[in-house]
Symmetry: C3
Subunit: 241 residues, 3 copies
Amino acid sequence: MYVSKKARVGKALIAESAVVLGESVIGSGSIIDVNTIIGYPVRSKIRGLDLGENKSYLEALDAVSGGSVLGSGVHIRPGTSVYEGSVIGDGVETGHNVLIRENVEIGGNTIIGSSSIIDGRVRIGSNARIESGVYIPPESVIEDDVFLGPFAIVTNDRYPMSRKLIGVYVEEGAAVGANAVLIAGVKIGKRSIVAAGSVVTRDVPPESVVAGVPGRIISGREEFERKKKEWESGGVRTWMQ
Amino acid sequence: MYVSKKARVGKALIAESAVVLGESVIGSGSIIDVNTIIGYPVRSKIRGLDLGENKSYLEALDAVSGGSVLGSGVHIRPGTSVYEGSVIGDGVETGHNVLIRENVEIGGNTIIGSSSIIDGRVRIGSNARIESGVYIPPESVIEDDVFLGPFAIVTNDRYPMSRKLIGVYVEEGAAVGANAVLIAGVKIGKRSIVAAGSVVTRDVPPESVVAGVPGRIISGREEFERKKKEWESGGVRTWMQ
Amino acid sequence: MYVSKKARVGKALIAESAVVLGESVIGSGSIIDVNTIIGYPVRSKIRGLDLGENKSYLEALDAVSGGSVLGSGVHIRPGTSVYEGSVIGDGVETGHNVLIRENVEIGGNTIIGSSSIIDGRVRIGSNARIESGVYIPPESVIEDDVFLGPFAIVTNDRYPMSRKLIGVYVEEGAAVGANAVLIAGVKIGKRSIVAAGSVVTRDVPPESVVAGVPGRIISGREEFERKKKEWESGGVRTWMQ
């Protein structure tokens, strides 16, 4: 276990193989699991590490890290790294092998699924559910209660490699299906639905459902809710005994 | 190395940084590689861990873990976690950074590729080949000899976020191409082929080939085999010297 | 820290939890970060490890590893594994949880994004930018200055499971969008563009732009550059304050 002397740690469970760097703050009831790193420094600081000093590697990282801020009741699962400058709300849970880079803000009780990558300078609201394998690049905003299905991919470069980068804006209560791609700069309106496997190239108005490659509006949220009710009340097909 | 006193371990190779929890069973000739965890407890148990006790984190996990069961000749590669309640057959190999959650059953000699996520309550047969980056959610069944290509994504929520979850059923000998998406509840028939990048929204009959978004039947397995033979007997194009 | 006695290590920073095996070479100014493994042995050697010897697991791996060769100023980030027989040029950086298997050659200053998998027997040029979550299978060549967007997936089996495997050849300066799939055997011509979410089944001529499922030529690079200029000079939409 390596916990920086500069860190302020509440009554938390920290695994023997965890690393907490710099002025990190960890709230009470949080769990920092095995093989995790909290407060990992940004690239520019690591490139500038003085190789000549007589420190261990973790001491060298610790000396330059500004730390991350984690609320209470947070669970950081095995293999996850959180960069310095990120602020994670109460009750947030990450899956395994998650990467949360610098200047990410995550609201309370949001879940970040296993192997997801929040690639820095991203704002995610409260009670959002980011499933496994999701990718969110810099300059993106995900509002409260949003669902991003497994391996939903957000981009921020419309004409790679461009110097003008902008992520996407997903409004409150929207749901994006598995493996959908949201192209740089689009806004997904409030409570809209993006079908699995779609490629969304244009803004999606609130309360609409888009599907296909490229994504086109196929119905409204109301119809989606009607079908959903039908599906939920239908006979249960089940594969497992 | 942390190996629970409750675990039964055959003549296996266990890395110094590996963790084996609870009543895990590990067969002879198995390899438990660096930075792995076997028998990781389910969420409800971890939320309830008593932060007040005077134990190390691993001791606390160990106390609540029911363990995993691994056959003989299993290789769990670096960075992989296996949850309690999962049963892994003889000769199974995982890649790196794999996640196998609770109540997963995997038959003998199946391969689970690097970064794949088997997200709990899944049954996978024998001699299956799950490539890298595959996602399989709860309530899914993958039969013997199935091939799931790299980053094939299975879903279990047809109208997210619904309370009715059902994965997919992939019958014996079927092959699903890279980055294809299988929508919640579909059955992929015996020896069927799903082309790379397809989005399968409806059941696929046995011996058929589907492609596109949404997936449509484009031919039968017989024609696929004919083309395959042609391709295999054709001139070898090779990029590497 | 485990550094093989057979390894030749320049003035580098090596984390306490890093492992460097066999005759690995690590250039000056390189950083080998926490929970990484350099020189991990190929499958056949691991299957043959003598379980009876009185060695630790790392000593057993070390004894059979031929090592990897890393240039100077390389940064291998946390959770990354590099197999024996791979050669990584000066200034290369990997993200977190990357997997680079055996017989991979990577030119100078190339970036391999987090969670990417370079699955063995692959040649990647200099100054290439492989984003997060990219998958590149054996028998693939990626030339200099190529951009592969997040979760771009390359395949090497046209008729799975076939014994004839061939990856793709991506020529100099081409850019492949996020989550695109490149089917086994295709060549992506010099400076061509593959739109995000496309599935490329046929060769793409130089200087062209392809999009869709299956991918079709929609314009040339010239038009792409014109639109890019327009986009870059357009009003800045920004989601973050």
